[in-house]
Amino acid sequence: MTQPQFIDFYTLMPFLIVTVWACLLLLVDLFIPKDRKGITAVLAALGLVGALTYSVTQVGLASRGFNSMVVLDGFSTFANILLLASGLLGIALSYGYNNRMGINRSEYYTLMLFSVSGMMLMAQATDLIIVFLALELLSIPLYVLAAISRKRDAEEAGVKYFLLGAFASGFVVYGTALIFGATGSTNLADIFFAASSGTSSLLLTIGAALLLVGFGFKVAAVPFHMWTPDVYQGAPTAVTAFMAAGAKIAGFVALFRVFATAFPALSADLTDILWALSALTMIVGNLSAISQTNIKRLFAYSAIAHAGYILMAFVPYGNSEIAPTAIAAGLFYLAAYAVTNFGSWGVVIALETAEGKGLEISDYAGLAKKYPALAIAMTIFMLSFIGFPPTLGMVGKFYLFRSALAGGFPGLAIIGVVTSLISAYYYLRVVVNMYMKEGDPVVEREAWLGFTTTFTAIVTVVVSLVPQFLFLLASTAVLK
């Protein structure tokens, strides 16, 4: 064992900043008076801004650390920036919401930081042991956050998420064990060599499939999605927003990294499984969303559906010509999805009252007359979810479908577009309520909330018109 070098720490620097900051925040928080917990939020945000700034300086750089257990590359930097931005948006949404809901506890923001750090570690892990560590580091704070309001629904959500999450972690551990048994290593590069040199072993394939179950749970792919609607509905809305973006990004990033770097040789077996998962996720997610009347559940099913679209692009991962495009498309869409996601949950938060009312789709009736800006923002988000111009969602879906077609899966692409059409129906229901029905909605006006919805709405439109830089960033994030 060699002594850790600077390069080891440099590789993990943004992650370390967040982790150390989170530990410090736990201590500092003791000296912050109970009625001024807003300061904790600001401090947490500062830590994320610091890490984000550092991450931006790492664009285009590559290194390995800790005996190749972690890596810094375009892929991880893209994911880190995205995750840190998600953390910041999550804090912005929580700031006023927690006050209003009476859940402004100091540990809230610390937990969020720990979860972000776990997600970032996930993006940098090149060893299955680190993947597992990261998975737990990101998940456990989320279980606590889901239940933090201590209401009945929230507790149910927390326990449900925890039990099923622990179950999924079990799959990951068992999968890792089988893969270690088959290849004698947990390092992704070693697994790749073992898998592509030897004859394909059943043990390895089963191990990979078990990992897929674990990641499928995190990204809420059907049939591992059962927890999603209940958890999304029961958890405090700001937590849901953070979880919907962060956990999905982390899950996909791990899936991309592990499968593209370790298992290309298994694609003959795994492609069909991915195909089926993707098709099922798109179909079940979108069909179940149609009958929802609660906006949180609606978005939960929509989150499931979007996992299906991203999976669709990843199906041809075994084709070495298409794989870089597939991953770039996935990352691009994750970015588009994260922006739209925070915006739409921001609108949900604006309408949610302290008693937990204002969460039915019918509560949005008349929003356009009373709060035109908010209604425009929500319309933009809904269009982006459908994949309509001029929004990021449209450019992102264009990219995803292109990857599926280029990979030779027109059938899957057709399922994708048809389910998009179905999704238009339920997203438009929100628009219909806002613009074409009479009502008297009540909206909370909070500075950071307003900022988040405005900012994400502008980004959704403007970046769709000048997407070049995001394309470049995503397409340099290729895994080797």
């Binding site: 309509f388 001029p390 264009f398 692409a413 577009v417 219909v432």
Partner: protein
Amino acid sequence: MEFLLQPLTLLTFFPILGVIVILFMNSEQKSAIRWVAMVTSLLTFGVSLWVFSMFNASNPDLQLEAKYPWIQVAGWNIYYYLAVDGLSILLVMLTAFLTPISILSTWTAVEDRVKDFMIFFLLLEVGMTGVFLAQDLFMFYIFWEFTLVPMYFLIGIWGGPRRVYAAIKFFLYTMAGSILMLLAILFLGIKTDTFNIPTMLVRLPDLYATGAITAGVQMFLFLAFTAAFAIKVPMWPLHSWLPDAHVEAPTAGSVILAGVLLKMGTYGFLRFNIPLFPNAAIQAAPWIALFATIGIIYGAAVSFAQADVKKLVAYSSVSHLGFVMLGLFALNAEGVAGAILQMVNHGLSTGALFLLIGMIYEQTHTREIKVYGGLWKITPIFGTLMLIASLSSMGLPGLNGFVGEFTILLGAFGSEAIGSPWYAGISAIGVIMAAVYILYMFQKVFLGPAGEITHHHELKDLNWREIATVVPLVIFMFWIGLYPKPFFDILAPAVEKLLSALPL
């Protein structure tokens, strides 16, 4: 930023300036908002005249190109690319011409949420102009889909009693077609490594010749594009969204819907289906002619049975656009040129009809044919204008409709691609049927004894604003009807170029 000063960029995006101004206005200042919208659309029309003055009709190629790299990443050769040629210039002019007219027609008709209305209307103009000018498939798709959004709101917010249903039906129907086109666009983009239409046209013949895209795949691509455009046109049997959308839409929405949005479908066939998939287009021509003929007869027959004037005009659109489709897929000079001119004609005559119906509806709040009668005596100006628009719509010689339909039938009779004169022959019956339902409607509404409404209502004849709305359309009806040569001259070179590339 140089691209902002290109004539076609200005033409497409000029209405955005009006949108920005209106955004910062107080929604209570209704008349100021109307004026801003009106002036914006008039200035846009001015820009279109400027563009037209620079357009060289004898040149068959794309002109006034504004071409800049937009998304240049591996495999994504996407350009910001606007250009105009003889196939699109008339439709661009029609769009710029109909928008101020439609806005003028809303002066008293739209009182509710004027600010939102004008914003959506101007955004719609951006989308429509973009559809006709875009020469990059990615860009085209963006404009194409984008037009749905403002129109959806126009129908859904300011429409009639069943507006929400009609709006969603319109949105989902149209989207159902375009998503298939999206896949075809992506497939073409992957195969040719570009989204740029002129470049694609250069690269595709090789791909067809070498079998990289087989005849079967070509047919699939053709059908995917057809799905999008045939729904928009709408071709029988995909027309069922149209009567709902038309009847529920506010007057200005109907005018634009009939005048321009439907033309986006026929224009799509002209710009994409025929040149991109020439073999498939020739193969499919008899089938499209068959569906077009059924549409002509069906639309005319159903029009006759309508009790609601607006619905009657809506179904007559199905019939008239059947003629356009028949002309396009005759795939000869007469047919295609006639079809393009007929697109413009239909925009003028149906636009005028919807405007006039809207004007009387504003007073009586009913469109049922049976409650009217004897209107001519009370409102002679209205009656005269309605008569001209009706005669133009049914294709009376001397008015524009005749020129278009006659040329189309001429083309369809001698068409090699369609292969049988029977389609044209049966379609000609449609012209006669048009005379029947239009004159029947005219007689019931304007002649004879006074009806219920005519009796009890204090009906006023058209005021100056309303006359000013319709008269420009009437001028063009006569102009095209009496001296269509300048219009054909604009089309001819581009049509010739289009057809010369076909393996006929």
